[in-house]
């Protein structure tokens, strides 16, 4: 006779919100414990001190707090850009390239027009060119997806490296001094095109702008017709066509928006913090943002939390690495562990495991 398996898995119809969050918090705690054990094995540091060092590294001083806030804002901004696309089930893995395209355009305007136009006009030009460049980078894969169903995950992924090489090209072409291989700080003396500090805080305007974008994306996906159309296309393209939504138009429109917000991130990075452009301006955040966005279940408000969590861990792990003269990639290992746990925990939210009942109960 065939034996009944030890357990089988059933999809949960719905789960109470507190249960799902309990599972997620448990996953984060388990991940932190494992991260602590890994750190302990590598450094021999007392586990409690590991966490204390991480907290200190992330928020130990006012300066570190602001740096954390800036890093979080940038990561959040990219994650927000991805949100409309992901809700449409358009896997935009090209945020890195779209941010670089925007940053490159902003840097080009900053460099070439810095002395020619008044500062307010320079900002507008930089902002617009960044949006256009990001949108173009986003809409190319969308166009082919809409026309021929070209796989967008792979297409946008390849676009990243084209953007990186284009930045590499311009960085060498415009390097200062010639042949140094880097552009260096743009407009160091005039500070033209630099986002000015507000109340003495260099990053405050960046953070406020990202907060505004958060509200915008939240309203856009929740309360507008566009947002509704995106959700329908994401659920089922056939349903969308049936109720008269122009799927191709929605795909292209949404990716223009997604690319444009990535472009804004590039502008903020160039004008608001780096004041230069390199191949590393996006710094892998385009990829990290995919995880941030997904971990928050495509909800802009939760995204604030998830991006803060990831940035906190990266800063904290970076501090441990510096303290023990270990390689800074330590932060990536910790980030990876956390994401594995949270990604894995989704299973227990969506599915229920039913264990094989005892023989006796069966006979009753």
């Amino acid at each position: 006779m065939h034996k009944e398996p030890l357990f089988h898995i059933v999809k949960r119809p719905a789960i109470e919100w507190y249960k799902s969050w309990a599972i997620r918090v448990l996953a984060v705690i388990l991940a932190l414990i494992l991260a602590g054990i890994v750190t302990l094995a590598l450094t021999g540091l007392n586990p409690l001190k590991v966490y204390a060092t991480m907290v200190d590294g992330a928020v130990g001083t006012t300066r570190r707090c602001w740096a954390l806030a800036q890093k979080t804002a940038m990561l959040l901004c990219i994650a927000l850009a991805l949100t409309p696309a992901f809700r449409m089930r358009f896997w935009n893995t090209g945020a890195e390239g779209q941010v670089l395209a925007g940053g490159m355009a902003a840097a080009a305007v900053m460099l070439k027009c810095g002395d020619l136009v008044p500062n307010w006009l320079l900002f507008i030009l930089m902002f617009l060119s960044a949006i256009v460049a990001g949108a173009i980078w986003g809409v190319i894969p969308a166009f082919f997806k809409a026309k021929w169903g070209t796989n967008e995950t792979l297409f946008t992924l390849m676009m990243n490296y084209i953007a990186i090489q284009i930045v590499g090209f311009f960085v060498l072409e415009w390097s200062v001094p010639k042949g140094s291989g880097q552009i260096g700080i743009i407009n160091q003396n005039s500070q033209a095109g630099w986002i000015p500090p507000l109340f003495g805080q260099a990053y405050l305007i960046n953070i406020i702008l990202v907060a505004l974008i958060t509200v915008f994306v939240y309203v856009y996906i929740r309360y507008t017709k566009h947002g509704y159309e995106i959700d329908v296309v994401g659920e089922s393209e056939r349903t969308a066509r049936y109720i008269g939504i122009d799927v191709k138009k929605v795909i292209i429109r949404t990716m223009i928006l997604s690319g444009a917000i990535c472009g804004i991130t590039g502008f903020l990075l160039v004008a608001g913090s780096d004041h230069t452009i390199t191949k590393d301006t996006a710094g892998g955040n385009g990829f990290t943002a995919i995880m941030v966005c997904w971990l928050a279940k495509f909800n802009p408000v939760w995204m604030i939390l998830t991006s803060l969590l990831i940035c906190f861990l990266q800063k904290g792990a970076g501090e441990i690495a510096t303290m023990f003269q270990l390689n800074l990639s330590f932060a990536d290992i910790i980030t990876g562990i956390i994401i594995f746990f949270i990604v894995g925990s989704e299973f227990f939210i969506n599915y229920r495991i039913i264990w094989r009942k005892k023989e006796k109960e069966d006979r009753k």
Binding site: T93, L154, F287, L326, Y351
Partner: protein
């Protein structure tokens, strides 16, 4: 003789990509888009480095036994890539997690592991050496066929490589044969195209997915091992492997999911990686643009394949989708 040099270097550049893409093709044929391949290749490389470093500093370069010098790094590399494959499988197959997110996290993790141990191995093992330079191990790995030099140009182009290079080509050919001609290959393709149908036909979907992903990870990890021991002469440098992992993923599309086509594709990509050194009067900045060509070519192939919509060139239909038996 510079043509001979060019062809040799082209092959050496192409082999890691071939390993990576063969591994990824086998994985994707089971319906799993493993974007963790770049990370797995880093881990495969650092696995070899850790094994070789322990052995070389443990017994000293003069006391090394050739068989062990190859076997220890090889086993370490395979074991670590296998662990990465298992992490990915467990999350995406058993726990049905999102493949893109898991894959990207695996890449972050894997590149982190590679650079972390590459940068901290000396400090962690408190060895008394200035940098990781495993030239002794690398020499064993690079042992070529003895008659290569005697056959002139042909011998140098065809027979001057180390055993891992030939292994890459043999693995690709075997994979191609397996996928096309054997029952196992047919079942694997069925799992990737339509897991529900495969399941109904009595194929153990979970087992096929696990085995395909783990074998794919091991093969991809060997690409990292080849790179570090052969191309880089056993010298680890952080991020030295660069974006070759993503190029391997690109090569999968370029070869339209066929390992035998990937052999030729990897040679072409290898040539594109070094061609800038052979074009006279090229500025540094123009070189950057030439480095873009493999990706550009891949996009063009991707678009053409989707526009022509020929059935045999399409990605597996179930690619990227989790399979849950009770959900139809």
């Amino acid at each position: 003789m510079s043509l001979v040099m060019f062809l040799q270097r082209m092959v050496i550049q192409g082999i890691p990509l071939l390993f990576g893409s063969t591994g990824e093709i086998i994985t994707e044929k089971s319906g799993h888009l493993n974007l963790g391949i770049p990370g797995i290749m880093y881990v495969g490389a650092i696995g070899g480095v850790i094994g070789a470093f322990m052995y070389e500093t443990g017994v000293g370069p003069e006391n090394m036994v050739p068989a062990l010098a190859i076997l220890i790094p090889f086993i370490c590399s395979v074991a670590m890539s296998l662990c990465m494959g298992l992490i990915y499988c467990f999350l995406t197959v058993t726990l049905r997690a999102n493949q893109n997110v898991t894959g990207l996290a695996l890449t972050t993790f894997g590149v982190g592991v590679g650079n972390f141990f590459g940068g901290s191995l000396i400090k962690l093992s408190s060895a008394d050496v200035p940098s990781i330079a495993l030239s002794a191990t690398s020499n064993y790995f690079k042992t070529a066929l003895p008659f290569a030099d005697k056959l002139g140009a042909v011998g140098q182009v065809l027979f001057s490589y180390s055993f891992l290079a030939y292994a890459a080509i043999i693995i690709a050919l075997v994979a191609s044969y397996m996928l096309k001609k054997t029952r196992v290959g047919l079942h694997l393709r069925a799992v990737g195209e339509s897991p529900a149908t495969a399941d109904a036909a009595g194929i153990n979907v979970t087992r096929y997915k696990y085995v395909a992903t783990c074998v794919g990870s091991i093969i991809a990890g060997l690409g990292g091992l080849y790179y570090i021991m052969d191309y880089a002469c056993g010298v680890w440098s952080n991020n030295g492997f660069g974006d070759r992992g993503w190029l391997s993923v690109a090569l999968v599309i370029f070869s339209t999911w066929k390992p035998d086509v990937a052999i030729l594709g990897s040679m072409l990509f290898g040539a594109l990686l070094i061609i800038q050194n052979y074009i006279p009067n090229l500025t540094m900045s123009a070189q950057e643009l030439i480095k873009m060509t493999p990706y550009l070519v891949t996009i063009i192939v991707l678009v053409i394949v989707s526009a022509r919509n020929k059935r045999e060139n399409q990605p597996p239909a179930g690619l990227g989708l989790p399979y849950f038996r009770e959900e139809r």
